[in-house]
């Protein structure tokens, strides 16, 4: 007997009679937190992300020029905000080591925890949000959902092979519980929120 059959057989004889799935609405799960831009921004601040507000996406050009040292590598997947690294020419993700700032879009933001949803197709390389030293993530102001239930409603079927909720810069508290920003992933995350 294969291990698969052995395990499934053992489970079949051990599991109790089938219980039904709970009705989440009846339990009162979700929809009880406010999904406002103000709250979203406050949450981003709480989790250590930097927020930049602007009317137009193009306004980000100025911010990037003023805040990223010249000669540093910028990898961007936002056509309006071209970077210095030609992502289409990179086939090996290891070559992204040394990128100073990664610029990419998020589909929407989640008010309750400051996370933004990112799809693989918007990244070029899956490792981009971790390997870059800093992140510059653009999201539209009208794309904010209240909680994670609404968020999964928006995510729907993930068409690509990878997607993630990203909430602020990477961090650790593994040494004496002292919070340190910048573990293995980015040392800083700027969320650029544009539009009304």
């Amino acid at each position: 007997m294969s291990s698969r059959e052995a395990i499934l057989g053992a489970i079949r004889s051990a599991q109790p009679k089938a219980l039904s799935l709970p009705d989440l609405d009846a339990l009162g799960v979700g929809g009880r937190m406010e999904g406002t831009l103000v709250n979203f921004i406050a949450m981003l601040d709480f989790i250590g992300a930097r927020v930049v507000r602007a009317a137009k996406l193009e306004d980000a050009t100025t911010w990037l020029r003023e805040n990223i040292p010249v000669n540093e590598a910028i990898a961007s997947t936002v056509p309006q905000l071209p970077g210095t690294v030609d992502l289409s020419g990179i086939s090996d993700p290891h070559d992204l080591d040394g990128v100073h700032t990664a610029v990419f879009p998020a589909r929407f933001g989640v008010c309750e925890n400051g996370a933004v949803w990112i799809e693989e197709t918007d990244l070029g390389h899956r490792v981009l949000p971790m390997i870059a030293e800093h992140l510059f993530i653009v999201v539209r102001a009208d794309q904010i959902v209240a909680d994670m239930h609404a968020a999964y409603g928006r995510v729907g079927k993930i068409g690509s092979g990878f997607g993630l909720f990203l909430a602020g810069p990477s961090k650790t508290a593994d040494i004496e519980q002292c919070l340190v920003i910048g573990a293995h992933g980015a040392r800083g995350a700027t969320i650029f929120i544009w539009g009304e």
């Binding site: 219980l19 989440l24 009162g28 925890n113 690509s160 508290a173 910048g182 992933g185």
Partner: protein, 426 residues
């Protein structure tokens, strides 16, 4: 400290109790139809281009992982946090076969360099002081002697581990949740180490216990809202990564491990322990864990949940663990999936004693206690003797407990004597 942070986050969520109830019910449902959901998960994962393996026990799990690595000629494996691989002693097995294993979670790397196991399932090096970490890094990473700044130590580890990420032949991650309807799985970290490993290496192996399954993607909404808040008091982990398919040119494997879980599933009283999402909230609130630390337990998962998982594996070897509890119930009160931890501890005590795994002196002591408690005069006499002879106990140090500790001074009078005096003066 972590407990306070958890409380602060939990009260900010108006539907917190509804979420706990939902999580508990979803897990119970899943466990009642686990075989179906596993088959569903497997079919979808295969359709996504992932190779699925089944392991009856730790040994088979280790063999599967080693075979995958050997076929690719892999020499270096970067690993993110996985209690399952601790359970199976994977590192040791691979090292014997000449494969270098690098734990990449900062806390796990620290204890790995010390050749010690993690002392906590979320914060593996919680028992160490900054200066001790500095010592370890000085010896292994060449940082200046005496460095004890958390920021600088973390930076040193970042540089050191980045080199390993860039040169690894394969990456291994744990799994927080596996979704039956999509065949995908979610890995949550704050450091980004699971992603750094998995997205760079040509091979990604994800190892999971069969209880990690949930039916639908939308259920992640429930579990992700609970997990980070319960674990570290954050509203969300930094990275909640949803893996579905390997990236082009990459090999992705999932290893499904039983190793005693189907047996626990068949034990009605203890089945619910399989709902655990390993948040460690029960550790952080436990008065016993907080005083004694992870190394005082005999099982690789310590704390309250470890104490109900361990006897399933070996009742005799870990028979002590369910007794190391005050049964205060604080663990059950914070558990995000509502496991009745303290009730299960009590049930294990009964099973262990009935199976004869309780030491003879404990049985004798219990009988003696019962004898005394039934006789009020004898009880009063015993109390007087104890009060009189406490200094002697401290001086003789007969009990191992008193070797490093001094019993507090006994009060001059007993509660009963005090009561009688109160009655008289009134």
């Amino acid at each position: 400290m972590v407990r306070t942070k958890r409380d602060r986050q939990a009260v900010k969520v108006p539907d917190w109790e509804a979420l706990r109830e939902a999580a508990s019910k979803i897990k119970e449902h899943t466990l009642s139809r686990l075989s179906e959901y596993l088959e569903q998960f497997e079919a979808h994962a295969i359709a996504n281009g992932v190779q699925v393996h089944w392991a009856r026990d730790g040994e088979e799990h280790n063999r599967i992982v080693h075979d995958i690595l050997a076929r690719r000629g892999a020499k270096k494996l970067v690993k993110s946090k996985s209690m399952l691989t601790e359970e199976c002693h994977l590192n040791h097995h691979l090292e014997q076969h000449g494969i270098e294993v690098i734990d990449t979670d900062l806390g796990e790397r620290i204890v790995q360099l010390q050749k010690m196991p993690p002392s906590h399932i979320v914060m593996p090096a919680i028992h160490l002081k900054r200066a001790e970490v500095g010592e370890v890094f000085h010896e292994h990473l060449g940082t200046p002697r005496g460095l004890d700044d958390a920021q600088q130590l973390t930076e040193a580890a970042r540089q050191h581990l980045r080199q390993h990420f860039l040169t690894a032949d394969a990456a291994l991650t744990g799994v927080n949740f596996a979704i039956a309807e999509t065949g995908g799985f979610v890995v949550c970290t704050n450091e980004g180490n699971a992603d750094m490993g998995a997205h760079l290496a040509p091979v990604h192996i994800a190892c999971m216990g069969i209880e990690k399954l949930i039916p639908k993607q939308e259920h992640l909404g429930v579990f992700l809202r609970l997990l980070a808040r319960s674990a570290t008091g954050q509203p969300s982990t930094v990275f909640s990564s949803h893996f579905l398919k390997p990236r082009p040119g990459q090999e992705m494997h999932i290893v499904l491990v039983d190793n005693g879980r189907s047996r626990q599933l068949g034990r009605e009283d203890f089945r619910k322990s399989l709902a655990c999402i390993r948040c460690a909230a029960c550790f952080n609130t436990c008065p016993v864990y907080r005083r004694s630390g992870g190394y005082s337990y005999s099982f690789f998962i310590s704390g309250p949940i470890g104490s109900i998982l361990a006897p399933n594996v070996d009742k005799a070897a870990h028979g002590d663990m369910p007794f190391a509890s005050t049964l205060c119930g604080s663990c059950s009160a914070v558990c995000p999936v509502k496991i009745d931890i303290h009730a299960q501890l009590l049930k294990w005590r009964q099973e262990i004693t009935a199976a004869g795994h309780s030491p003879w002196w404990k049985t004798l002591a219990m009988h003696a206690t019962a004898f005394v408690l039934k006789r009020p005069a004898l009880y009063a006499f015993a109390g007087r003797m104890t009060r009189r002879f406490t200094p002697l106990v401290n001086a003789l140090k007969l009990d191992p407990w008193t070797k490093a500790r001094t019993l507090p001074d006994a009060p001059k009078e007993s509660f009963r004597e005090w009561m009688q005096k109160q009655g008289r003066s009134r």
